[in-house]
Symmetry: C2
Subunit: 336 residues, 2 copies
Amino acid sequence: MAVRVRIEDVAEAAGVSMKTVSRVLNREPNVREDTRVRVQAAVDALNYKPHPSARSLAGHKSYLVALLYDNPSPNYLMEVIAGVLDACETQQYNMMMCPLDFGSPTFMNAVESMIAHSQPDGLILTPPITDAPALLKRLDELELAYASISPRKQKQCMGVAIDETRAAFDMMQHLVSLGHRRIGHIKGHPEHGASDWRLQGYRDGLQKAGIPFDPDLVVDGEFSFESGVRGAEKLLQLRERPTAIFAANDDMAAGVIGVALRLGLRVPEDVSVCGFDNTPMSLQIYPPLTTVHQPSRDMGRIAALELLTAIRKRDAGKMLQIPYTLKLRQSTGPLG
Amino acid sequence: MAVRVRIEDVAEAAGVSMKTVSRVLNREPNVREDTRVRVQAAVDALNYKPHPSARSLAGHKSYLVALLYDNPSPNYLMEVIAGVLDACETQQYNMMMCPLDFGSPTFMNAVESMIAHSQPDGLILTPPITDAPALLKRLDELELAYASISPRKQKQCMGVAIDETRAAFDMMQHLVSLGHRRIGHIKGHPEHGASDWRLQGYRDGLQKAGIPFDPDLVVDGEFSFESGVRGAEKLLQLRERPTAIFAANDDMAAGVIGVALRLGLRVPEDVSVCGFDNTPMSLQIYPPLTTVHQPSRDMGRIAALELLTAIRKRDAGKMLQIPYTLKLRQSTGPLG
DNA sequence: CGTTGAATTGACAGCGTTGTCATCTTCGCT
DNA sequence: AGCGAAGATGACAACGCTGTCAATTCAACG
């Protein structure tokens, strides 16, 4: 392994001091344009990379953001991760993964210990960890910046979200436009804000169409395939069967389709089914699932970008809302 | 945020020098037992955590392992990640994620740049990156330790694998035992060793059952759902249709089931379908998929453990083989 | 052309740990 | 007791970078 190129070598090559190279590298102000160019050229020529530990030690920063998660969906997480890594790369930051057990009594201990050990400069929170009051309080105490993805209380923090209520409402409009009036809903995990928002969109959709809300048509779920199966078993065996079922996510919708097929029902001729999230699986089941595309990768990227900017500028950052897309596929249709 | 406890504080509390504390922390030899106990007590009392960057800077180690991947399966990756994180935690190591584009002409540049920037103490390679000759050669040059998960050439490196050929063979035995004689196979991505091993198991199974190999019954695939769809379309439209299809992974098997249903075939009454990997999806489609459980999380953990041990002891490490399990479910059965 | 304040640059001391090497103990043996 | 070797401990200089603050250059103005 070749000897490491140090900032000193770059400084010499560019004919400036180490400190000036440091300034260029960290995009600090008060460097003349021609100096900046000259230094950058030397950096490129020598293919210099600052030593992360040295930077961190001297600069009292870790150049680390921690991604906290307790989310059963690998698809969702890998998308978020890809987005966060994207953003980190551009800013010479690193990401560390922090799998956590949200419900556990040792949750806060695990977080404290992670923070003490790794000293991240900021955190990215994913649902449902976005909504742990004890955590948020502690982070404020520590003055540790964090960005939340789809948190419940969006007024109060920086991060990114989509308008889930409106997306669910749009989905309902779609079902109504196909002629459905008896529409069932399987709720998501009660700890996730998404469950409430999607339910709200469902109710808004009913109201807009002048359909009275029927509590029998709304059943509990928890975002898992199995809970979708259970929900579908309840809904599809009602005396007066719904003609469409809006599951609060794709995994549950897949469960619904499985049950429907098992009961000898055709999808969508006998019952329309739709989900939410646009997971890869939604295209891999038969029939392909009508769903809402949630741009998770972009959300990861944007959350990380917001966070890094906030860290650098030491400001508060804002909550961004980005667009979703309805994916109308073959699992919904008029009654056949 | 409280002031950081430093090694100096611990040294003072224990009445020894910083260096001695350092020795205790790093389990170095030549410390008297009573000193070790006293120092450890001080460490615990002060809840001291060494500063990772300082350690890294002074010790010329990064305490980082890099996980290299270019694998389209989020499930697989998240499992491996969970295992690797498990192992790292016990050894005060960190993991960094390195998404890579295996086919790209800039592949090696990306790796070089990652290594130069992050200076990991070791790498964990996942398929198909396990089989990039240029990479392996370079790592040897750099004397950088790496552990491979399911690499092609298992004699020559440290890591972990399952006996995929035998697992595929077992699956064939299962199909044969159900009475199938016309069994199709959809191959995996040609860059993955798994594709070859699973095909070999398929052929071994045929041979064992005395069934001649029919090239028409083996079609190309690339581990994606869509390629499974294409493969199934070819196989299920042969004049003489196979009664069972063994897809080289679950995603493709899901594609096969989708096509079968679309063609009005019943699974498993008209055609049995099985896959490989035991992804969560294999339980979420209808009917539930017969498959091989690959213990990815354990494989991640074991690979990381081997790697960390090798780094510490500066030795070569070995290739471990761990057991798989057949999951017999409803997508396979006798002809109905 | 000198003066002044702002913009730019540099010298140098840390940051918190470990490696090196010197020193001090301890122990076994004569 | 005296000696040598091995074991235990400590002093101190790195590690490669950034923060601080002083020094220098520059631009604008009277």
